[in-house]
């Protein structure tokens, strides 16, 4: 080897340098992915059963099987601007919340990597976020107002399951007009509240008592009256799982309630 031509030696040195640069470049680019995650640029609402954020990102294999099984197409995959989170599933509740219309948590069952943990079996066991009343000034109920018409307008594409219409197929919210004396959409459409009421009536979903939530999720409390119009305030209760339906259906702009996924308790295993 000592008789190597200096030209070959130079070539080898260059190749080594080039290789080191390639290495540094590619690893450097991949590590840029830490910035949006550590900087918490976006705080995503994750699908039911998601582990705490750090564990979730560690375990998610980014295959999108949860996306494929969701009956209301609530789950989307994150873009590159979310760094290490690229390809991981999230829910934009205002556009399409998780209404648990699959009942059986199909996304959880679909997850091959345990990022959505199989430790939960029922919607009320999910801990996706905590709903927060962030815009009380726009709330119709707090002004004592009712609601008539389409909750999110005719152009809105989001879907919900209305059991009285079709047990198996969610329908567009835009096909379901309301006429309410006082706006209580966030309460009446809450999947946990719906289940709790069914259970109270002795008819748990699918006849499975396990489907019965132990706690209520949301209610309206009276805050006063103006003549003969009551004013009501939405109050989030312990049973809230952060599915985002209240945020989705709120006719006010901006939505009175939003999901706070930083307050997400996140399922710990």
């Amino acid at each position: 080897m000592s008789v190597l031509n200096p030209l070959i030696k130079q070539k080898q040195r260059r190749q080594f340098l080039r290789s080191a640069l390639l290495m540094a470049g590619v690893v450097g680019v991949s590590l840029l992915g830490a910035i949006p995650v550590l900087g918490q640029w976006v705080k995503r609402l994750r699908p039911p059963g998601a582990l705490k954020e750090q564990e979730f990102l560690a375990s998610c294999i980014k295959c999108g099987q949860c996306v494929q099984v969701c009956p209301v197409n609530a789950i989307k995959l994150a873009e590159l601007d979310e760094g290490f989170g690229v390809g991981s599933p999230y829910i934009d509740a205002r556009a399409q919340a998780c209404d648990f219309s699959c009942d059986g948590l199909q996304c959880v069952l679909a997850c091959p990597a345990g990022a959505l943990t199989h430790h939960i079996n029922y919607p009320h066991e999910a801990e996706m976020a905590v709903a927060k009343v962030v815009s009380p000034q726009t709330c119709l109920a707090m002004q004592g107002k009712g609601f008539k018409g389409l909750a999110r307008g005719a152009e809105y594409t989001g879907k919900l399951r209305f059991e009285e219409i079709d047990r198996w197929n969610p329908i567009p919210l835009a096909e379901h007009p309301f006429d309410l004396e006082i706006c209580d959409l966030c309460v009446r459409l809450c999947p946990i509240e719906i289940r709790a009421s069914q259970c109270d009536a002795g008819k748990p979903p699918s006849g499975d008592p396990g489907q019965c939530p132990p706690n209520r999720a949301i209610r309206l409390v009276e805050i006063g009256s103006d003549g003969n119009t009551q004013k009501m305030r939405p109050e989030i209760l312990d049973g809230c799982v952060g599915c985002g339906v209240c945020e989705m259906v709120c006719p006010a702009e901006p939505a009175v309630i939003v999901m706070d996924s930083t307050a997400s308790r996140g399922v710990s295993v």
Partner: protein, 324 residues
């Protein structure tokens, strides 16, 4: 080829010139005959003339592209048409309900998460068995969507190189092993699947199935790098997925086999090969035996099988003994 040499070459060692003592007596006889047999020179000239007018066949490449496109299409259609044949993406999926997991993605997840769930384990075992049987890096050339784009980029690169507009800048092949180690370590230490962020396989597979996104810019960057700077750089010098599957396929029954007696040492195979170091044995005087199995880094793409005018390279499934 001995497993140890095959693995070391996979990890980046350059092939060693065999010592005369390592060459089997029958192979020595052929080497000697080939040097003395002047009629082979006439035959070789005829071969070269034939090649000058006829393009090498593309039989295996066409078959391979068809399989690659069908597999990726199966993913896409399973979701779009809801036919539930192959759900998920290349990182992890279900084939008619049965779990499959990309071995490198699964490795990243296991190292970052430090826990293995049963479904992932099932997926890993299934896929490891499948690719062991089919040749390991066969995944690369027969399934990986980046490979197909890179082949097109390579065609462009070679055209430009022909016109002296670009020049290939090779890297040290040990870089890939370093990448593999660094990304494994990063997953372990940071707790994030760092490599998945830039994995062109994951990015492309998800883009095909769930729609394109800005992450494709990274794939385009890699392709431009390969067109203008370094031929097939990602697959040759960087991709840890390729190394993972290479290790899986190191003892695979499906191999490309080289037959010394048919070889004219024209080097056509090495020109088209993604990993020409595995074909070091075809260089005159290097073959240790009359038949040599090509090493673990081989992607079983079949381009050498197509390129060889004298059929000295063929697919072989060991145990069945049937030559494809």
């Amino acid at each position: 080829m001995k497993l140890k040499d095959s693995l070391l070459e996979l990890l980046g060692r350059n092939p060693l010139k065999p010592a005369p003592a390592d060459i089997s007596p029958p192979a020595q006889v052929i080497h000697k005959l080939q040097r003395e047999d002047k009629s082979r020179i006439t035959q070789l000239r005829a071969e070269l003339e034939h090649k000058a007018i006829h393009d090498a066949p593309q039989k295996w490449r066409r078959r391979r592209w068809a399989v690659l496109i069908v597999v990726n299409l199966l993913f896409v259609l399973s979701y779009w048409l809801d036919i539930q044949m192959l759900e998920g993406a290349l990182t992890a999926s279900r084939f008619v309900g049965f779990h499959m997991a990309d071995l490198n993605s699964a490795l990243q997840v296991m190292l970052a998460f430090k826990e293995v769930v049963i479904n992932l384990l099932i997926g890993i075992v299934t896929v490891a068995l499948m690719w062991w049987l089919l040749g390991g890096r066969t995944f690369c050339s027969w399934v990986c969507p980046y490979h197909l784009l890179a082949e097109w980029a390579e065609i462009l690169h070679l055209k430009l190189a022909d016109k002296k507009l670009v020049k290939d800048h090779p890297f040290d092949r040990r870089t890939r092993t370093a990448f593999w180690l660094v990304f494994a370590l990063l997953a372990l230490v940071t707790g994030y699947t760092v490599f998945e962020t830039i994995s062109p396989v994951g990015i492309l597979s998800r883009a095909l199935i769930y729609g394109p996104g800005v992450a494709l810019a990274w794939v385009v960057t890699l392709l431009l790098f390969e067109i203008f700077y370094s031929r097939r750089a990602w697959c040759r010098y960087a991709c840890p997925i390729g190394l993972t599957y290479g290790l899986v396929g190191a003892t695979s029954p499906l191999v490309v086999t080289y037959k010394l007696d048919k070889c004219f040492h024209e080097g056509e195979c090495r020109k088209v090969c993604l990993v020409p170091h595995v074909l070091d044995t075809v260089i005159k005087g290097r073959a240790k035996d009359v038949q040599v199995e090509i090493g673990a880094d081989c992607t079983r793409c079949g381009r050498c099988v197509d390129a060889c005018p004298t059929h000295s390279l063929t697919f072989k499934f060991k145990g069945i003994g049937k030559h494809l």
